[in-house]
């Protein structure tokens, strides 16, 4: 399981659990990062940052996106 790409994760179930909100995109970013898909991780973190509702979360997610793009 750990070696399988993110496509093997049940994205639909995760989305249903978390909703189409910033945490869903943040989790998606983390999973992409675990798969070594850094550009996709950065895009997901950036989408999460655009939807964040607190300054602390927004700043953290922007940092995560910038770090993943490096």
């Amino acid at each position: 399981m750990a070696d399988e790409p993110i496509s093997a994760w049940d994205e639909g179930a995760l989305r249903d659990l978390l909703g189409e909100r910033h945490r869903w995109h943040a989790v998606r970013g983390h999973l992409h990062e675990l798969d070594g898909e850094r550009p996709a991780a950065a895009e997901a973190y950036a989408e999460a940052a655009r939807r964040a509702t607190t300054v602390a979360e927004r700043d953290h997610l922007v940092r995560q996106a910038a770090r993943a793009r490096r």
Binding site: A42, R50, T53, D59, R63, A66, R67, R70
Partner: protein, 137 residues
């Protein structure tokens, strides 16, 4: 003393001094420098006694209007955020003069951008009307 709203925009405003990508595409150290500068702006304003308020807004925009008698409010996301004027946040400052408000806005606009140089971001400076509004009499 007059109060001014110094508005930062996600989009809209005059032609940018130079194009720059969203912050999530900057180098991590440039992101840190930018955030540290904005923290320092708040501290500076507070130490000067010029700080009234500062807030950031989420990007989700909902326009609402009265729907008419016995009708639900009408809402729309409005024009696409990419093409419309969208406020990102503000500082409310209490200053000696308009010149000081402009000086502060220019200082905020010098915030470091990608590569560490000034962002030259346009800041929307609006004076708050003094005195009570007629509805408060």
């Amino acid at each position: 003393m007059p109060k001014y709203l110094l508005l930062k925009h996600y989009s809209g405003g005059p032609e940018p001094h130079h194009p720059f990508p969203p912050m999530d595409q900057w180098a991590p150290e440039d992101v840190e420098a930018h955030m540290a500068f904005l923290r320092q702006v708040k501290t500076l304003l507070q130490e000067n006694g010029e700080y009234v308020d500062g807030q950031a807004l989420t990007q989700a925009q909902t326009w609402v209007r009265y729907g008419g008698p016995d009708a639900a409010p009408v809402t729309t996301d409005g024009p696409l955020p990419e093409t419309s004027d969208l406020v990102a946040g503000w500082y409310m400052v209490d200053v000696e003069s308009r010149e000081r408000a402009i000086e502060l806005a220019a200082y905020i606009s010098s915030e470091p951008g990608p590569g560490g140089g000034p962002l030259y971001e346009w800041i929307d400076v609006r004076e708050v009307m003094s005195g009570k509004s007629s509805s408060e009499d």
